[in-house]
Symmetry: C2
Amino acid sequence: MKDYAQLTKEELLAEKEKVEKVYKDYQAKGLKLDMSRGKPSPSQHDKCMPILDALSSKDDYHASNGFDVRNYGLVDGIPDAKELMAEMMDTRPENIILGGNASLNLMYDCVCRGYCFGIMGSTPWHKLDKVKFLCPVPGYDRHFGVTEQFGIEMINIPMNEDGPDMDMVEKYVNNDDAVKGIWCVPKFSNPGGVVYSDEVVRRFANLQPAAKDFRIYWDNAYVVHYLYDEEIKILDIISECEKAGNPDMVYEFASTSKISFAGAGISAMATSQANIEDIKKSLTKQTIGPDKVNQLRHVRYFKDLNGILDHMKLMAEDLRPRFELVCKTLDEELSGLGVGTFTNPKGGYFIMYTTLPGCATRVIELCKEAGVVMTGAGAPFPYHKDPEDSTIRISPSYPSIEDLGKAAKVFTVCVKLATIEHLLGENNG
Amino acid sequence: MKDYAQLTKEELLAEKEKVEKVYKDYQAKGLKLDMSRGKPSPSQHDKCMPILDALSSKDDYHASNGFDVRNYGLVDGIPDAKELMAEMMDTRPENIILGGNASLNLMYDCVCRGYCFGIMGSTPWHKLDKVKFLCPVPGYDRHFGVTEQFGIEMINIPMNEDGPDMDMVEKYVNNDDAVKGIWCVPKFSNPGGVVYSDEVVRRFANLQPAAKDFRIYWDNAYVVHYLYDEEIKILDIISECEKAGNPDMVYEFASTSKISFAGAGISAMATSQANIEDIKKSLTKQTIGPDKVNQLRHVRYFKDLNGILDHMKLMAEDLRPRFELVCKTLDEELSGLGVGTFTNPKGGYFIMYTTLPGCATRVIELCKEAGVVMTGAGAPFPYHKDPEDSTIRISPSYPSIEDLGKAAKVFTVCVKLATIEHLLGENNG
């Protein structure tokens, strides 16, 4: 097949007719498929079930420091779980505050504290005329949801293959004291699958923020989420910040949500001692502490980083064929047509498809009308506005292989159809 | 023994010498005892251990609506757990939002949302010159900690035997639109053990707040926490508010923290549909939802309110002898001396001791110097200021019977000594 852009109008119309017929056949099937959210599949969770047995009524219920995990206390969690999460996050246990089942909540709370009380004695953000966050795009919709909720202005930062455009990041952070944060997913970024290079991490660590209360919100959500045996390392941002004389500049986050149970894992943030002290001042007012029984359950099951990595190989056995099936389908159906490009990540939870500019919304709409739910157009951008209307996040993790095969096929048909419409000038309204 | 106030100076000095000798003997023992926090004892928690087995790898992991509790979703929790908590809180499942392991965090979040975003479209509190909360005293230190954290002015409301002074509550709430809330523990209040009468609950429900965003923060923390077979009921504030035409005026809170594991229970708030919709707007930004695995675990173990009540009888078997031992000791050692009064509650977690005015701080100090940690003086009051310096919260739940016997004895000696010093004019500095 030739590149669509090279076709004459007649050829395009003929192709359209063919594609439309296929599309209508799919529509007639009454499919109900979903590639919209980065959820583990039931079969992944089946492999997590022994976690439930890792702390039974017959087991010892004391943390390594002798603390009875059943009772109140330890607002920042048990030492054993700090060790486990620190090892996973490539940092030290004393840098860790443990949270509940959702690292998103830890991030929300950090932003909320900045808004209500200020960070380390700085002016609370609600008293400032303007607060801005930098948002490397495409990025994670829930990050942008948090900053939008607090009325924070979000500024798009383009992503390169090795991380955000650092020239632009430096320009903003080092000159504008209204810039209080940047959202980062440094490893297998959501949705682009980008892994930050050492140079990018070092440039982050060497920022010279105009605002004392600027923090890097470093969401290491996919820190051990490999699809293949190849372990991909990034530099530890906390020690790089220390080396650069910016020890307090980063809040790092992670959780076991896509390691153990998505809705019932444990979360952690890692940061400097000074930040921890600052955070604990309000944390002690907010809660009696996270669920330490669940922390100990995770420690007993995983034991250490090796335990986590072994478990992640089991998870990859479920994920890998799904990613490969989608990529194979995209390749077989679309390559050579000039209808877009897609990522082929080595970890994380997403494939990103980039259509011709102006086609993403229509592709997603066509998918929906054929019974395939995709993440909403614009979701990976602040205010849901994709300036190019070209980014589509594909989540292959949840559906069964059979459903996924169908969904991917439907998707390719929708990409073809939307692109043809676009080239014919039909979807410019 | 005669009332201390009737003794001559010489008799008092002689008594002081005797009491001091006993005190020093206790000091010499190097005790390390704690009656400071309302924590369940290890033996109570031992009886909760089967909860850990209520959801194992062999069990079905679906909620009653078929939802897989392991995965993301259901930001307000699973329907089965809503039913359980609704039955316990004497309300309807549709009024329930489930939280994480700490109801304190639910309360904090409610205050925080009022501060950041406003309640149902009202002006966010951070934009107002003055926000006030009414605080029935003595009350729960952690409630006051939350409001203090947000710079909210706290106003003491005296407690009567059947609840707060409602004349004063009505005067403030109905006339001052800066009054946005009142903290209530309506059943077995912390620390006074007060149970709100039907009349008090109805007067609450019939408030005519000057502020549209006034809410009653109704912390039903001890809703099923009976020490004896006698079940003590209070009116359901939510339906009373509905009847009074004030359906949105109350946020009710409860948790299983002193039912299952103190640090690993489930929490809930109950409120009107309109409030739930308002709350969900920001809740969906804040979290992917609470730990539904733990919710299902609790449902499987307790099944329904009867299951909870049966379990609470087991808890009472541990608690009752502790309460009775402390009350017996106080009675035997102090009655007739005119050195104070104490409560003898039928539920909850605390005994309240009221010293002569001006003696509480000194009693607690003497206890500390003899190795017995008590809740800090002033803790049950906003800003830690007990205007009479007479309220002491005794928490009998945690220590072993043996330790508790010693601790209670030491406490009575300290009460005697502080009172004598007071009557001799020695501790007025």
